[in-house]
Symmetry: C2
Subunit: 411 residues, 2 copies
């Protein structure tokens, strides 16, 4: 098989070493989960449809025919193309499942059952298999179980968009696909918990994650606040629980920064650092209540001063004055911050097509070498020969045989 | 000890049954993690400072003196008040740690070391202990390690705010504390992975989670897109990868909805469902390219029709016409949807002060009873007697003794 990059140190010491995942997931929520599992030692075998593979391979922007979208969440995985409606490929698939610890899928509920691979069937045949499912609305529950889900639909439906945006403004989508990503993260938690449980009981289980449920789980406090006060929260802007201004985002000469000076002492420090010590004596801003009443005027005073320098300048000056603050970075500025390299949060993708760098893992373990480079996402069917050989899978034509659509070498 | 509510079914079958967590975390990121651990069977012993406990107990809104903020993320936990600078309390704390599997903390880096409870010291004494740390910028890394972090600071700094908002508009904070919540979720993954590793190797490890790293992990595709194209992403609004309009949010008579009709067929279906079949023949909207060029006009045409009915009406009509769509709910409307009850996503909090209902868990396991009610968050020091008794902790005055500041009964 193609050699898979192993990080420095004892690979067997990684948390998920020895775990094999058969991964039927496509696009984002499922692949994000299996990326995290692969980053931490699992062998992830991505099973893709022979015609085109994972839909995300078609999502732009592309570079040299490679999708940045696909590559951003599929590093460290192996790929095999199988047609789950072909008898020969089903035999191969079932042999792979028999060797695996975990199966993941994010089809619409009912699809796996129609393929004959629903949880009850597979649990019966492979009692220790863990079966991780992610869908828009869950494997159970009415009335929405069978509806198609898009990130935007669950962000809208859950209330997530209703609390995002500027106060008084329109509901706003979160700028990343948090509907998918949160589901991928909860699926990762669920699969890892199920592995821990299996280590004790020997039993596999199905983990059933709904994108909508995960948005509700992130809205915990917005919901709690509503249940207590009866108020319906709208877009909260730079919400601060109970604190007076200045606490939020402010415009500078070249962008924006955040300033969090929510008490009298920090406010006085801010005024001094801005070169306007008199501001804290101004009766409009003398205490928290006054500052709440005169927030627009206060913002104007502060932004008038901030207009005289860059975000970088003011972050230095205010930071030196003990005022909690920070830049509102665009992603290029964030990546240029040396802290990102210091935490291995941008790492080399060995053999990358569109991306030669990808975001690192935020999971850092004291006694496991940090992930400092990864194997780039696979080409469709790239690992057929190795997978069949390693797992001892035999086809009708003998070991490691092609079934007619692979890119691997003929046997 | 106070009886702790056990869910129906065999409690020992839950994924984290038998795991004890000593929890020093406060406010949000850490407590969100230990809430998930407690929901799935871990015993979480929250160690709070005697004066006031977790800061979040002071965050409004309050009901009957109880904080909704605190209660929303501390159900199913026990509380003991200990002063980690008092010799007597330190002896108790160390005995509890000696009985625990996991310790969690979200102090500024260096604080635990100053208390004499840094990872090296505790690892030396308790080699199988897992030590979960969450901070703004991580236990290592320069230049930001020692800076204070607020949710808003990491949302701003990471680029998360820069991609959230309406195209051409200002950067916008995500309406939930995604800076904290993502860190809590990754900490949950890390601790569970470390438990799985320990089951194999017997060794504990420190899990070091930085809020900033976790935001970068969520920005994966925004970063990937930037690395490939060189373009700096701004607020993306209702971003759709490569699809033509109509795909986004639209105003109705009483609110907003999302419509995802990103190809010719779905657009024709939409026009029919809107009672405007001729719209798909209009040369301005005849194909995807034309609809991109005339998006503002298209939005106006659609919203003119939508103004004649409620969100609920249009979701029914368009849904029946096969058009992917959904409401943009406020949280009250979401909670009224029967799907939420069907998935046990709003559950009873037994003994709740501010909240008698809380958000359920999105982690559903096929063979573990779903969490349908929880024990409400504890009063400060509520479980002193039980914790000391159960863990066999002895104080100088004998078992289960008070150290002078508890609310528990005198021994």
């Amino acid at each position: 098989m193609s050699p898979k990059y192993s990080p420095p140190g004892d690979a067997d010491d990684r948390p998920l070493s020895g775990i094999t995942v058969v991964d039927l997931t496509r696009v984002l929520a499922g692949p994000y989960c299996t990326m995290i599992l692969a980053d931490h030692g699992a062998r992830v075998i991505k099973v893709e449809r022979p015609q085109g593979g994972d839909d995300a391979r078609g999502y732009g922007p592309h570079a040299g025919g490679h999708s940045a979208y696909f590559e951003s969440v599929n590093r460290n995985k192996e790929s095999i193309a199988l047609d789950l409606r072909s008898a020969a490929d089903r035999r191969i698939f079932e042999q792979i499942v028999g060797e695996a610890d975990v199966l993941t899928e994010n089809f619409r509920p009912g699809t796996m059952e129609r393929l004959g691979y629903g949880w009850p069937e597979l649990h019966e045949r492979f009692p220790s298999l863990i079966y991780g499912s992610v869908s828009g609305f869950g494997q159970s529950g009415s009335p929405h179980r069978d509806r198609p889900a898009y990130d935007m639909v669950v962000q809208g439906m859950s209330g997530m968009m209703s609390v995002t945006g500027r106060p008084g403004g329109e509901p706003t989508r979160v700028g990343v696909s948090i509907g998918d990503l949160a589901a991928g993260l909860f699926l990762t938690v669920g699969i890892t918990m199920a592995l821990l449980r299996r280590a004790r009981t020997g039993k596999g289980s199905q983990v059933d994650i709904a994108m909508l449920d995960c948005q509700l789980a992130l809205l915990e406090y917005s919901i709690g606040r509503h249940l207590v006060t009866g108020e319906v929260p709208g877009p909260v802007g730079t919400y601060r629980p109970g604190l007076p201004p200045p606490f939020g985002q402010f415009r500078t000469a070249d962008g924006h920064m955040v300033i969090a000076a929510g008490n009298d002492k920090l406010f006085a420090g801010l005024c001094t650092a801005l070169g306007r010590p008199g501001l804290s004596q101004d009766p409009r801003f003398a205490d928290g209540e006054s500052r709440k009443d005169n927030e627009a005027g206060l913002t104007k005073e502060i932004e008038t001063v901030l207009a005289g320098g860059s975000t970088e300048h003011w972050c230095e000056v205010l930071g030196a004055g003990g005022v909690p603050c920070g830049p509102i970075n665009t992603v290029d500025r964030m990546l240029a911050d040396p802290h990102v390299a210091g935490r291995s949060m941008l790492v080399d993708a060995v053999g990358g097509g569109a991306l030669t760098k990808v975001v690192g893992t935020p999971l850092k373990f004291s006694d496991v070498p940090d992930l400092t480079r990864v194997t780039a996402a696979p080409a469709l069917d790239q690992h057929r020969t190795g997978i069949l050989g390693d797992l001892g899978v035999r086809t009708e034509d003998g070991p490691e045989a092609r079934t007619g659509h692979g890119n691997g070498p003929a046997s």
